[in-house]
């Protein structure tokens, strides 16, 4: 757990807005280099981490977790030190008013998303703001700001790393750093002797803006199997019971038409036999994860989708239970030791 806590905290502090992941590639390397045999990166911003097994000509198992996050991009600089922005990825504008942000210009700049109190609004009504109606308050003059910020610079909603009760953590952008953390923890704990595959962990880019990164990795790696890991909706109270998974009850195996049926069924059966705790969730067609494109990359790839329950998705207080990350790692380890073809 110490590794998970520490790694998760480090991952969450990295600026990896979709399309700008390369700014943090050295931080990923620092974190991963003690664990892996090889590290490589591509032009798209994906990072591939390889751990070799002892077997000659071992088959390849790809484990994907994206490390990009939703965010914003500067589109204009106004009088009084205000910035216009647009969203990158599916940002929830309901949580933006009064949120604190960092603008990654020449230097990191603090800002607040300005909000008009209802009694000062023209129509005096409270409504969901559109992103183009929101401005970021930087406290600088326009002239000073123009020296520090350029159009196109990324903006991140800030939020620290807050420990709640029972091993729960609230932090910005655990989607999908939680799964990346789980994958790193899994590989860290893997016994090389027992590995049935060469392990390729793909730290993929731009999942939030088109889900292309992982499939580019898959194209290069040509894995025999791919395990896609991503977060899934953690149940809040009793809302949407059948579309959500429960935080604290372990990682979930996702059953979907776009994940390999035989592999998925085999894994569920195997985990049951081995008494590895897990949940199940059904996503009948699209999973809206990297799984959907990876499964049809190249000649087609057999994919398994695993997910970690996450509450308050796409907010700076995404909340999860650390136990579920460990559970994900446990499942990955178990599968890396197994002949997946035989399941």
């Amino acid at each position: 757990m110490e590794f998970i806590k520490d790694a998760l905290n480090r991952l969450c502090s990295m600026m990896t807005v979709s399309g700008y992941e390369k700014k943090s590639k050295n931080d990923i390397s620092d974190l991963a280099s003690p664990i892996f045999d090889e590290i490589s990166e591509d032009s798209f911003g994906n990072i591939t981490l390889v751990k070799r097994s002892c077997k000659a000509n071992a088959k390849r198992l790809m484990i994907d977790a994206h490390f990009d996050t939703v965010g914003m991009m500067v589109t204009d600089i106004h009088e009084g030190g205000f910035l216009s922005v647009i969203n990158i990825g599916g940002l929830d504008t309901r949580i933006l008013p009064s949120a604190e942000v960092s603008i990654y210009g020449k230097e990191r700049i603090y800002g607040i998303v300005s909000s008009v109190p209802p009694h000062l609004k023209k129509d005096k009504k409270s409504s969901v703001p559109k992103i183009e109606e929101l401005y970021i308050d930087t406290g600088y003059s326009k002239e000073k700001l123009e020296e520090l910020v350029r159009i196109g610079d990324p903006v991140v909603i800030e939020g620290g790393y807050t420990e709640l009760l029972n091993g729960f953590v609230a932090a910005k952008y655990l989607d999908d750093k939680a799964c990346l953390c789980g994958a790193l923890d899994a590989v860290r704990r893997m016994d090389k002797e027992r590995l049935n595959y060469d392990i390729y962990v793909t730290v993929s880019a731009q999942e939030e803006t088109g889900k292309c990164g992982a499939s580019l990795c898959a194209y290069s790696i040509k894995p025999d199997f791919a395990i896609i890991t991503d977060v899934n909706f953690g149940a809040v109270d009793k809302d949407n019971e059948y579309e959500t998974v429960k935080c604290g009850e372990g990682a979930a195996v996702d059953v979907s038409a776009l994940a390999d049926r035989k592999l998925t069924r085999g894994v569920i059966k195997y985990l049951k036999e081995k008494n590895v705790s897990h949940q199940r969730i059904c996503e009948p067609s699209y999973t809206y994860t990297n799984n959907d494109l990876v499964s049809v990359t190249g000649l087609g790839i057999k994919t398994l989708l695993l997910s970690v329950p996450l509450r308050s998705m796409h907010t700076p207080v995404e909340t999860l239970c650390l136990k579920d990350i460990k559970s994900l790692a446990d499942i990955i380890i178990e599968l890396a030791y197994t002949d997946l073809e035989a399941l």
Binding site: S18, G19, Y20, K22, D42, S43, F44, G45, N46, M73, T75, D76, I86, I88, E132, R150, I151, G152, Q206, T209, G210, C212, S215, L216, C217, Y219, S220
Partner: protein, 325 residues
């Protein structure tokens, strides 16, 4: 350059039917390229060999238009849209078929903004029989091409999207100085229907760097979308559109090159509309992808407007990027 522009503008080619415009471009490209090929999808690829980085430029040859789907007993022609037809701009405009038959695009309801499906074309035929003598199902129509100079550097007409990009590529191919870079100038097909042509072209070329040259919307006009881009403010360097986030290191490098070469440029974030950039960025294992855009007002109307000074800057920028990236 104006002669070439005229030729490019006045030769039609709807998505999937780019043969005529391709031949115009081919005859020009062959003068300057080491090799010119047409790939199975119809992309025209002009190659200028080098040993250095493989750089792919792409501008699309196709344009928006209509396919004839049905001819009714009154001789009115029903059509399917090819690409993003703006029905407000299209209503009551003149159109021309691939065989030179003139007609008018009409909405079915007089006072409502028509849906694309409810547009039809009147070629003046009295009956189905009369119409079928001149137009067959499967023929295409486009809005009548035109080119006119306004005051100063401004030109209006259609389809600047993206024949002006083709012009930039041809001029760059012609003017680029010796460089180590291995250069591909690709005139793509079927961009207007989903960025389709660029994907196999990039698959073939496997570029290290890919740059789409296309039009972008300008802000500040009453009907224009929110944009910082202005006519006359120089070539636009693409940062993002709705299909792509450009590789930021490439964006930064292009800005540097523009500043070093004293090329007038502006930043572009396009909120609505995609470009070939996206297809190239994600082909095979991916590449660094960006865009050079020509600011254009009233895109997809019959009177798109550009400023020739921007085009000149775009040509300079394309050359500088080809030589120095």
């Amino acid at each position: 350059m104006t002669e070439l522009l005229k030729k490019l503008m006045l030769t039609s080619g709807v998505s999937g039917r780019e043969n005529k415009i391709r031949e115009v471009i081919r005859s020009e490209a062959e003068k300057y390229a080491d090799e010119v090929i047409t790939d199975p999808m119809g992309n025209l690829i002009a190659h200028k060999r080098g040993k250095g980085k493989r750089v792919m430029f792409a501008a699309h040859m196709d344009e928006i238009g209509y396919f004839v789907t049905f001819i009714d007993e009154k001789g009115l022609i029903r059509v399917g849209a090819v690409g993003g037809i703006n029905t407000l701009a299209a209503s009551y405009c003149d159109v021309i078929s691939e065989n030179g038959v003139y007609g008018i695009a009409l909405p079915t309801e007089a006072n409502e903004l028509p849906k694309v499906e409810s547009l039809y074309i009147d070629i003046g035929a009295k009956s189905r029989k009369q119409a079928e003598a001149r137009v067959k199902v499967g023929d295409y129509f486009v809005h009548v091409p035109r080119l006119k100079r306004l005051s100063g550097n401004k030109y209006v007409g259609r389809p600047f999207d993206d024949r002006i990009g083709c012009l930039v590529l041809l001029e760059a191919l012609k003017n680029v100085k010796d460089t180590d870079n291995d250069l591909y100038f690709v005139f793509t097909v079927q961009e207007e229907v989903g960025l389709r042509g660029a994907k196999p072209a990039a698959y073939r070329i496997e570029p290290d760097i890919a740059i789409a040259v296309d039009v972008t919307s300008v802000g500040g006009k009453p009907t224009s979308p929110k944009s910082k881009v202005k006519l006359g403010d120089g070539a636009a360097i693409k940062i993002k559109d709705s299909s792509v986030i450009c590789s930021y290191e490439l964006v930064c490098r292009m800005r540097e090159i523009a500043v070093d070469s004293k090329i007038k440029y502006q930043d572009e974030i396009l909120l609505k509309g995609g470009t070939d950039t996206a297809s190239m960025q994600t082909s095979k294992a991916g590449c660094l992808a960006g865009g050079i855009s020509i600011p254009t007002a009233y895109i997809h109307s019959v009177n798109e407007m550009i400023d020739m000074s921007d085009v000149k800057e775009a040509i300079k920028l394309a050359c500088a990027v080809a030589e120095r990236i």
